[in-house]
């Protein structure tokens, strides 16, 4: 069976790959222990709160403190630059191969084993028009958006997901419904279909559907699945209006989706998931942890990510209580332990919700 690197088209030249290899290392250094910004800035924040005898208030107060520090401003400059460098290199390298890559997508559109259902009359809601993570053109305005996203996430995951290992691991944690029946699976906002194919491999007899609003993402998802022989279907649909029948799915899945939705659409999407997931079925979610329990630096980092890394909805998501929204829409949510991280909780969390 083929693996992810073979489905990712090569860059135009070796130097482009070397450049992005550098960005990957730079990212690791800036955001990790190399530069150690998190420990040092969080230490300064906590010492200040301790010496003045009161905890930090709203994130604006934290922001003012961090921005008064040269180290804080430099950290922001570097964090922004590594992201800009990444996209500039990927966009240029794939852009130079636009004709070939477009032809490559067209070659696979009609091939099986799965189906690709695009809607020529599809209208993108305004809320989707965001350049998440600073991706040029966002998720759908460039016909090569799926390829850009694929390489962008390769750098983001720093080599840990080159063979979809992260997706396979996450899909592997999703509990099977207690009656053992898994005939149909829905992957909401599937992007390039890495979770969708992982579900197909875990439940090869199930009918797996990946939906997304972005046609360029879906075309790459379909191409990847077809190249790897995975019989997964992909359709251009909205997560809040999937078009599937009531109680149709045994498992519904949302991988890092909700923090990219405004609150109104979060509510509508949970309601839609409750409609299409059958009783006893599972709605599995993997997304950002809430603001509660975060260190001052982590709260700052979330704010920075929202404002400076194209995540306008993530703050509202982190401040909402997704578990309560799930419960209000007919799901029973299993308690998910929060991972620990220096100074606070981890950044990611599972929700495993059973439709009751």
């Amino acid at each position: 069976m083929s693996t992810t690197p073979e489905t990712l088209p090569p860059l135009a030249r070796r130097s482009d790959a070397a450049y992005l290899d550098f960005v990957e290392g730079l990212r690791e250094f800036i955001l990790g222990k190399g530069a150690d910004f998190e420990e040092r800035l969080n230490g300064a924040l906590e010492r200040t709160a301790s010496s003045r005898g009161r905890p930090w208030g709203d994130v604006e107060e934290i922001r003012e403190f961090v921005h008064a520090l040269p180290l804080g401003r430099l950290r922001d400059r570097l964090a922004r630059s590594q992201q800009e460098m990444k996209w500039h290199a990927i966009e240029r390298s794939f852009g130079e191969q636009r004709a070939q890559l477009t032809a490559e997508l067209a070659k696979w559109d009609e091939r099986g084993p799965g189906r690709l259902l695009l809607d020529p009359a599809f209208v993108h809601p305004a809320y989707t028009n965001v350049h998440f993570h600073l991706q040029p053109g966002g998720y759908y305005k460039d016909e090569l958006s799926g390829f850009l996203y694929h390489y962008g996430t390769k750098v983001f995951f720093r080599g840990d997901n080159d063979k979809d290992e992260l997706h396979a691991k996450l899909v592997g944690t999703v509990p099977t419904p207690s009656d053992g029946k898994v005939n149909r699976i829905l992957d909401l906002a599937c992007s390039i279909g890495q979770s969708s194919t992982a579900f197909h491999r875990r439940y090869p007899e199930a009918d797996v559907w990946g939906i997304d609003h972005s046609a360029p993402m879906l075309r790459v998802a379909h191409r990847r699945a077809a190249m790897q022989g995975d019989a997964v279907n992909f359709a251009q649909r909205l997560v809040e209006k999937t078009g599937f029948p009531d109680a149709h799915f045994d498992i519904t899945f949302a991988f890092i989706l909700f923090h990219e939705l405004p609150p109104r659409i979060i509510d509508e999407t949970v309601r839609e998931a409750a409609r299409v997931t059958r009783r006893g079925g599972i709605f599995a979610i993997y997304d950002f942890t809430g603001t509660e329990g975060k260190s001052p630096y982590q709260r700052y980092h979330r704010w920075f990510d929202a404002r400076h890394n194209g995540e306008p909805y993530s703050q509202d998501f982190c401040d909402c209580r997704l578990g309560d929204i799930l419960a209000a829409n007919g799901f029973e949510v299993a308690a998910a332990p929060l991972a620990k991280r220096a100074g606070g909780t981890g950044y990611m969390q599972h929700w495993f919700a059973t439709r009751v």
Partner: protein
């Protein structure tokens, strides 16, 4: 970057294209150029190490031949193009320094 117009529905306002983080835009441009320069140095080093390893393993070129080599007209023209691209990569940051800040 292409088509920067965005229409998020509320939430945290997204900063514009070229935010200034440091004391003035020149400092931001300097850091960007430094990062770009470091990237280009790595690209060149990776290329050279790969090439030298290949050449030596095949017994084609000794290292001192590379040191003594004089480019012909075709290679000279190619190097000129590559140099222009190298300079563009690093110093494109200068175009992002706003007149108004």
């Amino acid at each position: 970057m292409s088509d920067r117009a965005q229409t998020p529905e509320g939430g945290t306002p997204i900063v514009g294209d070229d935010p200034v983080y440091l004391n003035d835009p020149i400092q931001d441009a300097t850091v960007r150029m430094l990062l770009e320069l470091a990237a280009q140095v790595w690209v060149e080093r990776e290329r050279r190490l790969t090439l030298e390893a290949l050449l030596e393993s095949k017994g084609i070129v000794a290292r001192d031949e590379i040191e003594r080599h004089i480019p012909d007209a075709v290679l000279a023209a190619r190097l000129k193009d590559e140099r222009a691209r190298f300079i563009e990569d690093i110093f494109k940051e200068l175009r992002r320094v706003s007149l108004n800040r």
